[in-house]
Symmetry: C3
Subunit: 227 residues, 3 copies
């Protein structure tokens, strides 16, 4: 099983017979080297979106059409976009080439940007629990700490946490450390949604310091992590 | 006190001096025998909507107008529909002919379908606690497991749980069993939002097996359950 | 540090070098004496909005433009209004003249009223934790009881709680008492969002009776409380 950061909240996860692109925002992402786009999406089988904001969802339809692969997303985004989507809801599980992807709660907001007419409701914001190859990966999506993380930890028992840690719009490193310590028993934590802009500047050090015994990674764009 | 399933998430609840139609989706509901529509809505005093999705809310205005009864729903749906609605919010309680109906949280999404212009924000998704005739009924609405179920169970002490159990868009039987076991002390559990479509095919058996000592019903459409 | 009620959910908070106007709904607010508008907003440095409903947000742009001060609010409201806003998200913290304002979760709904075209999605509903001058103030915003209040209490340790207590759309006094007792260790509680309309008529007495040892205030409009 392999997890590769695409910068910001984007990840390529190779698990079971699936190659999942999570929130693959490449175009305009300052952390992503545009010239390496082809290898980032090569062979992907599905796109999974946590919510509709542009820094997560704005490349999804283009990549989906290019590779002819479906976009797994909440009901409203599926309704708005139509063809090429797999709509589901919080608590629901999709089997994507053997990977079991469950949509779970997040506390943030979610809209699609319609340019001149502004943001439009895109269903609730979400996270994912992705199970396969003897691992369970928690993709927090954009969220603050949640009491729901308690049952999520107990019910899904994720060993890998991909957590939004950049502050300003989501948890920062300190809040993510609190969430990880209180609600989960992660072996590995991968911070994301940080460093993309000045606004999201954060050092991974306090997160690592707060989680002794946990393998807290400083992900590097397009360098695969194997589990 | 009588609870009658109308298929999917629709229920007719006769409690105190009220006859409540909860999410009464009849037109186009594959589980509902259209020729028995008249008896399903006969004498109803109020409609209560958990959220705006078509499989819950698409018949509400028609039935409301036909019977000249109000629709209790969240503020935004009341604003959009105007006349004939009783808008309230999460934490608020309405006295409907002696039945106390409190709106509580759910984690899902909520929109009204505006056809060509697509889904439109319809306020937050919700559930209900309905108290009367010495019972408290928890209507979960479409939701996943929630940490909020902990205080809901403690504060409202429902003895009957009507739980969304069909998976894909909401909890499945296994998640509903976890929620019921961990957060509530139900005497009776009535699963719903299952069996309507192939996508929601679920057997009640694992729910019953997971809740020994709880009267887990397999509801039959239009067969009243008396409490 | 000074907290002054402006009626309904409006507060003027003088903390560190900031004068924050929280949900300052003055125009049309039956609890607010219109002739005292100037003193209510005098010297304000920022406006903070919990959500988009008219009884919270309808005066914000006018006051913001008049005083040339920014409006701190969730991403979607900032997108819709543009200039003069500071958009952030749940879990994010702004430093407003030394006051640290963190956006936290609420369970309600949020829309902006677009008149003939009706309510429009305005991002998620929120509350605030405001830290400064050796105090932490929890502004609940419109919300029901939340399991999230547990980690909020533990993480932020607020000593002052400004709680929505009017019922119908939010917690009533009894629910607010439950929330305060179970999840927080407040020294002072200030109820709000009550008394504005007949629908929100509530006595503070049951809240005070339920919280022995807590200084439960009955706020008076435009009478500063000093901490």
């Amino acid at each position: 099983m392999q997890i590769t950061w695409l910068g910001h909240s984007g990840f390529r996860i190779e698990i079971e017979d699936a190659v999942l692109l999570i929130d693959p925002w490449l175009t305009g992402n300052p952390s992503f080297p545009q010239e390496r786009r082809a290898e980032a999406i090569d062979g992907a089988t599905h796109i999974c979106l946590t919510h509709g904001h542009g820094d997560h969802a704005s490349d999804a339809r283009k990549i989906g059409a290019e590779l002819d692969i479906p976009i797994a997303c909440i009901h409203e985004i599926a309704e708005i976009w139509g063809d090429g989507t797999l709509g589901f809801g919080k608590g629901g599980t999709l089997d994507l080439n053997g990977a079991k992807v469950t949509m779970v709660n997040a506390t943030h907001s979610s809209s699609l940007d319609f340019g001149d007419s502004g943001p439009r409701y895109a269903g609730g914001e979400a996270g994912f629990m992705i199970a396969g190859d003897s691992h369970v990966i928690y993709v927090s999506g954009d969220t603050d700490i949640m009491a729901d993380m308690d049952w999520m930890g107990d019910y899904h028992k994720p060993d890998i946490g991909i957590l939004a840690c950049g502050g300003h719009f989501t948890m920062d490193m300190d809040r993510a450390a609190y969430a990880a310590k209180r609600y989960f028993d992660f072996k590995t934590v991968i911070p994301c949604h940080f460093g993309t802009f000045d606004l999201l500047a954060q050092s991974v050090e306090p997160l690592a310091a707060a989680l002794p015994g946990v393998d807290v990674r400083t992900p590097k764009v397009l360098e695969p992590m194997t589990f």
